[in-house]
């Protein structure tokens, strides 16, 4: 039972940071940035490549995360801001195009074979009869720390207050003297950093290959949408729900229901079930479970 909870939590950790980034960016930029999943892959791959050049792990991760954040800002400045002037749907297709270019870039630079951090192997620890490995604990700690920092920034500082004001009513925020353009740049930087950290957290637990970004796309989107796009902390709940559905479907024995001893769904159906959960949830609440935006008439 406890193992089940750990599995859910570990899967949620994979999705959470990227989903929070996506929701945060949506709250200010008003378009879902598909390229964010590729920022996650970039963070993971870059950290591994930097470590191979001889840097200590911590410094490699820090560099990779910061570089990805900068990349996010640059792309936003030169591409997404211009596309947004045409429309949010256009910007969404544009971000799809950018993530294709990322895929191509990975193919050419890193190649199709997966890579991993060079780390000493360790025996899994047993906590309440659940097996947890040290890298898993480490990546959990990274995710928890990142969420904590973001929550502090978002709810306890002036900067966070300005961001929330901008996301609620941009025109009013502008009129009160908030530099909304600067707020947008900052939130893009934060989302890039969060996504890259998410990628690093995944890379710590296992391998990273160039498909990672596109594989993350739907589960991350499902989490962010389920939580209500634009509400970064709804995304946490969304990620937990999606990972719960994914893990439960494969861990539950449907045998007794069908009159057999054991009957498990194939693992491949895990994601199918979570997507159907997303569709069902949207039928019931079209703007996600926890909508933070004020809807005006």
């Amino acid at each position: 039972m406890f193992q089940f909870l750990v599995d859910v939590l570990m899967r949620a950790c994979d999705l959470m940071l990227v989903a929070i980034g996506m929701s945060a960016v949506y709250s200010l930029m008003k378009f879902p940035n598909i390229a964010l999943v590729q920022y996650a892959a970039t963070g993971g791959v870059l950290a591994i490549v930097l470590q191979k050049t001889g840097m200590p792990v911590v410094i490699a991760i820090a560099f990779a995360v910061l570089l990805t954040g900068l990349l996010a800002v640059i792309l936003n400045e030169f591409l997404f801001n211009r596309m947004l002037k045409i429309g949010s749907s256009t910007a969404m297709i544009g971000s799809l195009a950018v993530s294709m270019i990322f895929s191509a870039g990975f193919l050419v630079t890193v190649g199709p074979s997966p890579s991993r951090f060079a780390m000493p192997l360790s025996r899994p620890v047993r906590i309440l009869d659940a097996r947890i490995t040290e890298p898993q604990l480490l990546s959990f700690a990274i995710v928890a720390a990142a969420i904590g920092m973001f929550a502090l920034l978002y709810f306890r500082t002036d900067l966070g207050r300005c961001m929330r004001a901008t996301s609620t009513n941009e025109v009013l925020a502008d009129a009160t003297g908030i530099n909304t353009a600067r707020m947008k740049t900052i939130i893009v930087l934060i989302s890039g950093v969060m996504a890259a950290l998410g990628g690093v957290a995944i890379a710590l637990k296992g391998e990273v290959d160039i498909q990672m970004g596109m594989d993350l796309l739907l589960p991350v989107f499902a989490s962010a949408i389920l939580g209500g796009l634009g509400n970064p902390f709804g995304a946490i709940a969304g990620a937990l729900l999606i990972s719960f559905a994914e893990t439960a479907v494969t861990a539950v024995n449907f045998g007794p229901l069908l009159g057999q001893v054991v009957a498990f769904l194939p693992v491949a159906y895990a994601s199918a079930i979570s997507f159907l959960l997303l569709v069902a949830a949207l039928l019931w609440r079209p703007r996600g479970l926890f909508v933070s935006e004020v809807k005006r008439v």
């Binding site: 378009f31 879902p32 591409l79 211009r82 596309m83 045409i86 949010s88 749907s89 256009t90 969404m92 297709i93 544009g94 799809l96 195009a97 950018v98 993530s99 294709m100 270019i101 895929s103 191509a104 870039g105 193919l107 050419v108 190649g111 199709p112 596109m214 739907l218 989107f221 499902a222 949408i225 796009l229 194939p266 491949a268 159906y269 994601s271 199918a272 997507f275 159907l276 997303l278 569709v279 949207l282 039928l283 079209p286 703007r287």
Partner: protein
């Protein structure tokens, strides 16, 4: 060499049907469908499953059309009160669910190996004449589809979906039922996509899950954006342009002497780069949408 050109032209024609279908939805109706390949899958597997269970091609065709129209209807119904970007992700998720089912239900779809050996059209002709016959069939169908699209768009129905795209609330206030319009539009355009899938299965003699990957949807999107959103000729131009460009990437690779990974990377660069360039510098595409004119009722 001329065999090769014929093959590429047939493939372009099949993609042109898909592009015309997506153009009806996205270009004229403003529906952000990211699950186009799911509609194609209905046609592809309709043909393959009919073959596997020794049914006639006609019954496979009927099954394909009905399944696609129902799926299109379902897409529109799910999206009846969703925002455009939410709906885009939902359709992407549903198409992915279809792919997962196709990969795992071995008894029905042949699983990951797919269904091979599907009897091609014009079976009794020798292979060269057969290719030419298929070429003319496909080109005739593209022409017929283009005429159908022109007929739909030129009339009252075309005006109503365009007003739904531009001003949904105005359309509703004029007495148009936008949900019905969307459902009709999705059902009609789905049939075009299913015809393309049906022909594809009989032409390639194979149906497998890798043919219905979401990246194909993104490719079709690139075709209509490059060709010109909201223009039927543009959709056809975009499909032929990208297919022919793709066909010559391997030759360019050999000519420069690059490794094989560069073919896949080149396709991604071309699709993503084409999308970005056209979004930023020529938003209306190669053949822009014609505003006004035509035979209005």
């Amino acid at each position: 060499m001329s065999d090769f050109i014929v093959h590429v032209t047939i493939m372009s024609g099949l993609y042109a049907l898909l592009a015309l279908s997506l153009n009806l939805q996205a270009g004229f109706g403003g529906l952000m469908n990211f699950g186009q390949i799911g509609l194609f899958a209905c046609g592809l597997y309709g043909a393959a499953i009919a073959f596997q269970f020794d049914l006639s091609a006609i019954s496979g065709f009927a099954f394909a059309i009905v399944a696609a129209a129902l799926l299109g209807w379902a897409f529109a119904s799910v999206g009846r009160n969703l925002q455009a970007d939410y709906w885009g992700i939902v359709t992407l998720a549903l198409a992915e669910v279809i792919r997962i089912i196709a990969t795992n239900e071995d008894w029905l779809t042949g699983g990951a190996q797919g269904i091979g050996g599907i009897r091609p059209f014009y079976f009794d002709l020798d292979s060269q004449t057969r290719q030419i016959a298929i070429l003319f069939t496909v080109l005739a169908l593209v022409l017929a589809a283009a005429l159908l699209c022109r007929h739909l768009i030129g009339g009252r129905y075309g005006l109503s979906i365009k007003i739904m795209r531009e001003e949904p609330q105005l359309a509703a206030s004029l007495g148009y039922n936008t949900i019905t319009l969307k459902r009709q539009l999705m059902a009609v355009s789905s049939v075009l996509a299913a015809i393309s899938g049906f022909l594809f299965a009989h032409y390639i003699s194979f149906a497998g899950p890798e043919q219905i990957d979401s990246s194909e949807t993104f490719l079709i999107w690139a075709m209509i954006v490059v060709g010109g959103l909201g223009n039927n000729i543009g959709a056809i131009v975009g499909a032929f342009l990208l297919q022919f460009a793709f066909a010559f990437i391997p030759f360019v690779k050999d000519w420069i002497g690059l490794p094989t990974e560069y073919v896949a990377a080149g396709r991604l660069f071309l699709t993503g780069g084409g999308l970005i360039i056209f979004i930023l510098w020529r938003q209306s595409g190669i053949v822009p949408e014609r505003v006004g004119g035509g035979r209005y009722v």
